[in-house]
Symmetry: C2
Subunit: 464 residues, 2 copies
């Protein structure tokens, strides 16, 4: 499909290339068309009814404008941005900052732009170093929580707010902005009570689908990443993925191939392996998207199915030297999606060398990387092990936006094809309630007792 | 076991706590004793014969002294260290630098010590930024490759060598040191020809088991990390893990629990989930160790078994918001190993707050983190899903060394218990040969043709 910023090559997961044990056939794909159409139809209906919001984010440029306007009002004295958020509120921004801003340890020295730090855990390890390093006067704190009461995030926020107030007194609120539910939650209440500006996460956009809402746009624009380019690339994919022609729908094909490989070939471990260091945190973002959307106890009809492929993040060529042995010789339960970036912004050509390395003279590092990907794909295929390759011309904002969208759409379509709800996450509640009980949150006394009993109860304890 | 720097709590993977579907029993453990003893015996015999080298690294302090001597000769003008290496030659050092040196983006601002940069991929993305940032005069380049001819590493080295020579001419060699096989390989030849100092990786120590050899020690000491403390912690574990009493052997228990859960309960996905941001790259190190050692086509007798658990790296509490849903509701094929760090170097106590967050007043971030781990473990257990917890008092060099060793020993023991060779990696060769063919390496012409035929052959190509 010319014009689309992502090309999907799926030869190496087909019977014709990897045999019938590891591959599927064109007949399988054809047979899946009704399921795909029903899934897409269901999604489109959800989008039209306003229940599903992520699909239209790339074309609703209103948030982008609001965020740009706010960012323009942030004084130049603000040189550092802290993002507090976890899961869907942090992984997207970390992926953007890495892919477009460079590796964290080299980012600061290279750019005059604002630095962004994503603090996503209740572990004090990162936050303590961060607050020792930054200067409150020069820092803007973006606190992101869809529910507005995520314990890790509000706990971090209480710490950072004190840090700001100690230094700035009442002006502390000028160094804060929230991204949260527009109508409910603790952050929203504080925003109103303390006159802190806030941006809405649309209620119909789940955390893991929110990177193209204010969640990703606000920090991006504050740090001068090309948010508009991301939205454009995402929109190109959103348009392309609307077609009901499976063979013309990139996200539909990506979803159908994974669903079929899982159902027919037992490939329930899905590896995403970009040959690009710049996409390492993108892999973490995808892991949440895939795991949380497709790992479900119940199907849409309430049947107990406990399904869910395991997403595995890998980086080529590095992981050839880490997970490659398992991928090549271990159980035949994996489908690998490679991502190939065709050209690098900066590249090196190897110098002319005598002796055993002379065969590398004049080769570029990017050519080596590409040969590694091809060598891996062919070695797997020769042993009947399947892979897909997504090809991207270069890693700029447009292509990053396109990658975000193709995986979001593929996830939603795959979930609908599997007959589950890809948009909920009921399983994380139980642990949250027990934790709240252990922390003494009012209303959770019983859970606290349950947890304590389980930890040190009268059952025999096994330890060494 | 008092005195050992790591405590293993395995209650929550036992039948008594999670039921018979998800848990195993004391009888199972007892029944496994002969297999464990045979495995340990085989390992010990390999160690005595000098075939297996990693176990004795913590007590052979000779390398440590040699490295210290060399490091003392490196001038103070060297402020930056580049490590070139991939897989077992990079993941260990990255784990050390992160755990003991702090997050990369905040490391530089906090320490007067030398900065370390690990460049492990043939992707020019990181290297190009690195060479633009550093100054050759102030940089020492440590190139690490066991075989001495790893294509990613020698390619990077050719680029970096040119960078040094352009700036320093013949003095470039003073800014280089190798860690490689003492007798063979391209790096060894260049070391001799160009009078570049080099340290040996003992031939009986595989890459993924080499972190406590010069591979990890040299960059650690150059950057003033407490290598001696690591060795001490590792030695404590090495001593503890020699006992043939399974119930007293921490690595033996860790191995036996995983092997039994895999064999009896189908738990073939092994999650390592430290509640510690500092251990994120440690997880990557462990993924290679576990995947490459235990993922094997053939068993010791040459039978075709295609075995291997899938290692999954996660970080608590962050991944509760990413993979937690899948772990809680997805297929019952996972065994999770939590790591709890009891105390933090620096912590925050939350300020007194009115309103809905008042229950957090006076709680520390570390207490929240611990409650999150406990809430997750109990929520899983209440649903019959098993977990283990490793407890570590604090994250210093000693405990990091102990963590390295317990997982190395557990991996070796688990491999022997499974009847496979945990020390080889035959599966990565096929891809390497195809890549060499594509790059035109002499002697690999046939592989090059095979790869090209497979990529664009006469078989129908599927792409969109």
């Amino acid at each position: 499909m010319s014009g689309i910023p992502i090309q999907l090559d799926y030869s190496m997961c087909m019977e014709s290339h990897v045999g019938a044990i590891g591959g599927i056939s064109e007949l399988h794909l054809e047979g899946e068309i009704p399921t795909f159409k029903a899934a897409l139809c269901r999604l489109k209906s959800g989008i039209e009814k306003g229940e599903i919001g992520f699909w239209n984010l790339p074309e609703s440029l209103e948030t982008l404008r609001d965020v740009q306007e706010y960012a323009a009002s942030v004084p130049e004295s603000v040189t550092d941005v802290i993002v507090l958020g976890i899961g869907g509120s942090s992984l997207g921004m970390r992926a953007i900052a890495h892919a477009l801003g460079g590796p964290p340890e080299l980012r600061l020295r290279q750019q005059g732009d604002r630095a962004v730090y994503v603090a996503d855990n209740s572990d004090p390890w990162f936050l303590s170093r961060l607050l020792e390093t930054l200067i409150p006067q020069n820092t803007l704190v973006v606190t992101i929580s869809k529910s507005g009461s995520t314990v890790e995030t509000v706990a971090q926020w209480l710490v950072v707010r004190r840090w700001l107030e100690t230094a700035l007194g009442r002006r502390a609120r000028e160094h804060q902005v929230f991204v949260t539910d527009p109508e409910r939650g603790v952050l929203q209440e504080f925003a109103v009570a303390e006159s802190i500006p806030f941006f809405a996460i649309p209620p119909n956009v789940g955390g893991r689908f929110s990177v193209l809402s204010a969640v990703g746009l606000l920090p991006s624009i504050l740090c001068n990443f090309d948010a508009k380019g991301m939205m454009q690339g995402a929109k190109e994919l959103a348009d392309a993925c609307r077609t009901e022609e499976l063979s013309q729908n990139p996200a539909g094909m990506l979803a159908a191939l994974h669903v079929l490989h899982q159902r027919l070939r037992g490939h329930n471990q899905h590896v995403l392996m970009p040959y690009a260091d710049a996409l390492r945190p993108f892999g973490d973002w995808w892991v949440q998207l895939w795991a949380e959307s497709l790992g479900k106890r119940l199907d849409r009809r309430g049947r107990w199915i406990e399904c869910g492929p395991t997403p595995i993040s890998a980086i080529g060529a590095t992981d050839q030297h880490a997970q490659g042995q398992l991928f090549m010789e271990g159980p035949r339960n994996k489908l690998i999606t490679f991502i190939e970036i065709s050209s690098a912004e900066k590249d090196f050509t190897l110098p002319k060398t005598a002796g055993p390395l002379s065969y590398l003279s004049g080769t570029s590092l990017t050519e080596i990387l590409k040969a590694e990907l091809q060598g891996s794909a062919v070695a797997l295929a020769n042993d009947g092990r399947p892979s897909l390759t997504l090809r991207v011309a270069r890693l700029d904002a447009r292509h990053l936006g396109a990658l975000f969208f193709i995986f979001e759409a593929a996830t939603a379509i795959a979930g609908e094809m599997m007959g589950i709800d890809p948009f909920n996450q009921p399983g994380v509640e139980a642990g949250k309630r027990l934790t709240a009980g252990l922390l003494g949150r009012p209303g959770y006394e019983e859970e606290g007792q349950t947890a304590r009993r389980a930890m040190d109860g009268d059952q025999r304890h096994y330890a060494l």
